[in-house]
């Protein structure tokens, strides 16, 4: 597959690993503590695990998995809102597959579907619009669960604009789009964080360009590299980050130049600014309320806003007490260090979205990691803590 296979070349991977190993020796503090690089985006987390990238790296580099997985940061209260919309008899609730398994306070969308709600999995928001066009659905309302960081905002916005052009009235969005820069800022401001560099989300940049990430290099003085999603892209970014750290620089670099242009995607951003505006604050599961971290539909497009068309419970639901999703999302602890990992929280019986989403760090560790080893490490840690 063109533009894919070349970026999975194991020979080039070996070269990069050799270079990384050489550079790491030039970094003094790496002798006392590991270099901590955060990959923000869930898609990067998935690639890292799918290709076993972490084992190729020297032990002095530690990859910290960030909260850039929109399914993982979905608060339980919002899932309850989705379920209440889906359970309305006149509604067809269309959603991406991953979001269907996230537990709400009573049930997930998948359970709601089993209980009789009309929940449909779609690949694209355009498929949801197509459902609204069908003559047999004329009396139904198709609500699309619009989720994602800036990567999916243009697709959702363009779909709304298409609906407007065609005069479709039985289509709306339940908008749960969130923004990247404020979320990264919340992590950087978190006292328990010690990060030396960022692998930045390539597809978010594809939409918004490089500018929203400058503050990370300029104000917080952390190196940041905009990265593609093939394993070679990630290795190359790690190399570039290590190079910056060794040379004591902190700038924004674009490793994904074949797809990302520095100014972003103008038609996409134009559509986004027509349809969406920032919410003053928005709740992200495990991270709490973050200023400017979400968007809502503008007044001009209110008739496509499911939150304005229908009543939703809108109740903030606290995570179960034992959940440590927030600490895992911020990279403070590893998934297996969470007190319920592998015991009450497993992919079959998930307590949080991190165990449900195919990009969630917990699911990745559980499915791709060495489970017996992790559980025994966990038991050792718990025994130690009990002794203290």
């Amino acid at each position: 597959m063109k533009y894919v296979d070349e970026f999975r070349d194991p020979v080039l991977a070996k070269k990069l690993v050799d270079e990384i190993n050489k550079l790491v020796k030039e970094i003094d503090f790496a002798k006392q503590r590991p270099i901590q690089l955060m990959e923000f985006c869930g898609g990067h987390t998935h690639t890292i695990f799918r290709y076993g990238i972490e084992q190729l790296l020297p032990k002095s580099i530690e990859l910290v998995h960030g909260p850039g997985c929109p399914v993982c940061v979905l608060p339980m209260g919002r899932v309850d809102d989705c379920v209440s919309l889906a359970e309305r008899p006149e509604v067809i609730f269309a959603t991406f597959g991953d979001a269907m398994r996230v537990p709400g306070s009573k049930k997930s969308l998948l359970q709601a579907k089993a209980d009789g709600a009309d929940v449909r999995m779609v690949y694209s928001p355009l498929d949801a619009l197509e459902l609204a066009r069908k003559p047999e659905n004329k009396e139904r309302e198709v609500i699309f669960f619009a989720l994602g960081f800036e990567t999916t905002m243009p697709s959702t916005a363009l779909t709304v604009l298409q609906a407007e052009e065609e005069g479709i009235e039985n289509f709306s969005l339940f908008c749960n789009h969130i923004t990247t820069a404020p979320t990264i800022k919340a992590i950087l401001d978190s006292p328990s964080m010690q990060l030396d560099g960022f692998v930045a989300p390539g597809h978010v940049s594809m939409v918004v360009g490089e500018q929203p990430f400058h503050f990370i290099a300029e104000q917080y003085k952390k190196p940041i590299v905009i990265t593609g999603f093939e394993p070679l892209d990630i290795l190359q970014s790690i190399w570039l980050l290590i190079k910056q750290i060794a040379e004591k620089r902190s700038v924004v670099e674009n490793q994904y130049a074949r797809v990302v242009s520095s100014q972003g995607n103008l038609p996409g951003m134009e559509a986004m600014t027509k349809v969406f505006e920032l919410r003053e604050f928005f709740e992200l599961r495990g991270l709490g309320s973050i200023d400017n971290s979400g968007v809502r539909i503008t007044n001009d497009y209110a008739r496509f806003d499911a939150e304005r068309k229908f009543p939703v419970p809108n109740i903030k639901v606290a995570d179960p007490k034992q959940c440590q999703c927030g600490d895992v999302l911020k990279g403070v602890i590893k998934p297996w260090q969470c007190q319920v990992f592998g015991t009450s929280c497993t992919p079959e019986t998930p307590m949080g979205a991190l165990m449900v989403s195919s990009e969630g760090a917990c699911a990745a560790y559980y499915n791709f990691g060495n489970l017996p080893e992790m559980m025994s490490l966990k038991n050792i840690k718990e025994k130690e803590e009990a002794m203290l």
Binding site: Y123, G148, T152, A257, R258, P267
Partner: protein, 96 residues
Amino acid sequence: MCLGIPGQIVEIVDASKKLAKVEISGVRRQVNIACIVSEDHPVESCIGDWVLVHVGFAMSRIDAEEARKTLELLIELGEAQKEIEEMSLSTKGVSQ
């Protein structure tokens, strides 16, 4: 939401709605090309473009030159170092 996959536009399906057909490793799907169309690059000129496809939209055109440069950089990695090592070995030989 990052699962983007490269594909090639093989057909325009509906120019007014900016819909095209993209081919990815032998399978084909309809995608919306609004994000890659501009005055300089109208709908019809998109045929043959390699694009990044994500949730039914062509989000960006893939720049073949940038792709080549990225790979070349990696291919050359380690070779400059090797040359330097070889040069220093050969000078040692001469001086002995």
